[in-house]
Symmetry: C2
C-alpha cells in the first residue's frame, strides 16, 4: 500500500497575483495537492480531478496519518481502477477558498499576519481553474489527458475546457450543470443564513477553537446533505424508522434514524470544515452561470477542442440530468465530439461519490477511447 | 363586504381534559375559530376546513383589523365560490399547538400562570382532530357535510374520516399524505435544529418581545418555503435574476431575487409565528403515520363511511402525488367511494393555496354531487 503525502505549491507572488473575476487580486497562493501515479516523459498522461464543495486533495489511497481513511474517490482512482494510476498521472488540488491546505479565508494574509476571514476576496469557479493552471504549468504539462469532476468539480472541468481549449483533451463533468439552478441557489443561501446567524460566527471573526461548535454550519450541511440524496434513498436507508426504540417518545429528542443521521453528518462536518470557506465556496457555486459569463452556451463552448463525456445521475434532483443534456445539445449543435451517459441510480446527487460499476465502466471506456 | 370576527370556544375543563395520544392530558383548551355562512336548521350544511402548518382560523373574507388582508383560502371560500358560503356553514379552527388564538405553547398554563412553553405536551394530528370535535359538538352538528384540508389540514381531514366515520359525509384531503415522507421529516428536523440552535430561543424560554428576532425560525421557514415551491416555479418566478442590479457584487449581500424573496418570507413569518409552535406542529407532522397508528392503511380506513376526494398537485415534490394515489388504491380495495384528481400545476405544494380553476371546479363539483 502506497501512502500519498499532501504537497504544497506556492505561486502568484506579488506583483504576479491572480487577477480574480471580481477585479480583486489574490496572492501569494498556496495550493495543497496530491498526485497519484507517474508523469510520463512527454507529460501526456496527466488527469486532473476537481473536487466538489466539501472535498479536498485526498483523492484516493489511504493517508499516512489516518490509514483507515480512504480518499473521497478511492473507488475510482487507483491501480487498475477507472482512472488507472498505473497508466495515468492523477492530480487533485484543494480549491482556493477551501480549508484543506490551499489558500482560503482561514489562511494567514501576509499583509496583516492575521487570517483573511471575510477580507478574503470572493472567488468564482473561473478563479479556481485559473489558480490550478499554475500548478499544471509547474509540472510542464501542455496537454491534460482529461479533466474530470463531479458537482462543483464538474463546473471546474467545464471552465477548464472553455478557458484552455488547447490543453484539455477530454472533459468529464459528472452530476454537474452549466449554471446553478435557482432551487440549489436557494438552499445554499439558506445555509449561508444559518452560518451568519450563528452567534459563534461573530461576523466571520470566530475563534478557531470555537468553530467546531458552530451549529449554523451544521445546519447548512444538513440542508445540503438532504439535497444530495434522493427521497427514494432516504426511504430505503431510513424510512420512518425510530432510533433505538419502538415507539414515539413524545418529546423533542432525536427520535427518527433520519434525524440522528443528519445530526451526525452535521456534527462531523463542523469538526472538519471551516464556516467561512463554506460561505465562499457556496457563493462561487451561486455565481456559476456560463450563459451569463459568456453571453450564451454556444459562445462559451464554441472554441472548445476537448472531447466531452457528460454524466448525469437519474435521481439527482438538485443538479438534474436535463442540465447536463442541455450542455450536450449545445455541444452537438456546435459539432463537438460529445458523449452522454445517464447513470440509473436511486441514490441521488451523491451517487458519483460511491462505487458504481456503470460509472466506473463509462469513465474507463471514455479514457481508453 | 362582511367582516368576520374570530370567536373563541373553551372546553376540556378539568377533570374533562383532552387525553392526548402521548398519554398526557391538556385542558382547559381554547379554540380560536371563524365561521362563514349560516348553519341550517337541521345542521346538515357544515363544512370544516382544516388549516396547514402556518395557517390560522382566518379562512376567507377581509378581516376587520386588516381590511386589506385576505384569509388564507379566500379564493376558495365565499359567496358563489368553490365552497359557497351562501349555501354552507364553513368552520375553520386554529389548531391546538398553534399560536393564533388556540391553546398552544405560548398560552398561559392555568396551573402556573406562566406560558406553557416546552411544558406544553407534544400533540399529534389525532389530538388536533379530537379537540376540534368538541366545537362541532358544541354547534350540535351530527353530520359534517365535508371535512376539507390541504397539507397538514389534509392529514386532519383523513384522521376525521377515520375517527368519526358516522360524522364525516365527505372527506377532501389536498396535497397531503398518509404518513410524512422521510425527506419532509428531514427538512422539518433541520428547521427544528435551526430554532433550537438560536441563542434567542433560550431552550424555549425566550422573551416574547425577542421572538421576532429569532433567525432560527426564519431559517426554518425559508427551508420550508423552498420545499413548498417547485424548481420550475422558482425558475419562472426568479430564475437567476439579480436584485436591483445587473452584475455580481462579489460580496455576501443579498444579491439574487430568490435570496431576497426567501429572506422576506423568513422575516415576515418570524413577526407572526411562534417558534415553539413551529416545533410542536412540525413534530405533529413527523408523527403522522396512519400505517403505524392503525397497523395498516386497510385497518385505518376500513370503517370509514365518507365519500373521498383525494387531490394531489403534479409538481408537489414534498407531498408527492403517489402518496395520495396510495390512499386511493387502498380505499378502492376496501370498496369505498373515492375520486382522485391530480391538478396539473408547476407551482409545487403551495398550488392548493392559490387560485386554481381546476381545483375550484373539482372541489365544487364534488360538493355538489
Amino acid at each position: 500500500m502506497m501512502f500519498i503525502e499532501t504537497q504544497y505549491f506556492q505561486g502568484f507572488f506579488p506583483p504576479h497575483e491572480l487577477k480574480l473575476a471580481s477585479g480583486e487580486t489574490l496572492g501569494p497562493i498556496t495550493l495543497a495537492y496530491e498526485t497519484y501515479g507517474s508523469l510520463n516523459t512527454d507529460a501526456s498522461n496527466a488527469i486532473l480531478v476537481c473536487h466538489a464543495l466539501s472535498g479536498n486533495a485526498r483523492l484516493a489511497h489511504r493517508s499516512a496519518e489516518n490509514p483507515d481513511q480512504l480518499g473521497w474517490w478511492d473507488s475510482y482512482v487507483g491501480k487498475g481502477k477507472a482512472i488507472d494510476t498505473d497508466r495515468f498521472f492523477v492530480i487533485c488540488i484543494n480549491t482556493i477558498g477551501g480549508c484543506s491546505g490551499s489558500t482560503g479565508p482561514s489562511s494567514i494574509d501576509p499583509k496583516t499576519q492575521q487570517p483573511y476571514r471575510l477580507t478574503f476576496p470572493v472567488i468564482t469557479i473561473f478563479d479556481m481553474v485559473r489558480s490550478q493552471k499554475a500548478l499544471i504549468d509547474h509540472f510542464g504539462i501542455q496537454q491534460l489527458y482529461a479533466v474530470v469532476g463531479g458537482s462543483m468539480g464538474g463546473m471546474q472541468a467545464l471552465e477548464w475546457a472553455i478557458q484552455y481549449p488547447e490543453l484539455v483533451t477530454r472533459c468529464i463533468p459528472i452530476a454537474s450543470t452549466y449554471s446553478l439552478p435557482p432551487q440549489a441557489m436557494a438552499f445554499d443561501a439558506v445555509g449561508r443564513h444559518a452560518i451568519t446567524s450563528d452567534e459563534i460566527w461573530k461576523k466571520g471573526q470566530y475563534d478557531s477553537e470555537d468553530s467546531d461548535q458552530m451549529k449554523g454550519l451544521s445546519i447548512a450541511r444538513m440542508i445540503g446533505h438532504i439535497t444530495y440524496l434522493s427521497d427514494e434513498s432516504l426511504k430505503a436507508k431510513f424510512g420512518r424508522k425510530l432510533q433505538e426504540k419502538n415507539d414515539y417518545g413524545y418529546n423533542f429528542d432525536t427520535e427518527f434514524q433520519i434525524e440522528s443521521y443528519l445530526k451526525y453528518q452535521g456534527d462531523k462536518f463542523v469538526s472538519r470544515f471551516d464556516a467561512n470557506s463554506y460561505l465562499y465556496l457556496t457563493k462561487a457555486l451561486s455565481y456559476f452561470d456560463l450563459e451569463k459569463s459568456y453571453g450564451s452556451l454556444e459562445n462559451a463552448f464554441q472554441n472548445c477542442r476537448s472531447r466531452f463525456l457528460l454524466i448525469a445521475i437519474s435521481s439527482d434532483w438538485i443538479y438534474p440530468p436535463e442540465q447536463s443534456r442541455k450542455i450536450v445539445d449545445v455541444l452537438i449543435g456546435l459539432d463537438k465530439e460529445v458523449a452522454y451517459c445517464q447513470i440509473e441510480s436511486s441514490v441521488g446527487h451523491d451517487a458519483f461519490l460511491i462505487h458504481n460499476e456503470v460509472l466506473i465502466g463509462t469513465i474507463n471506456g471514455f479514457l481508453e477511447s
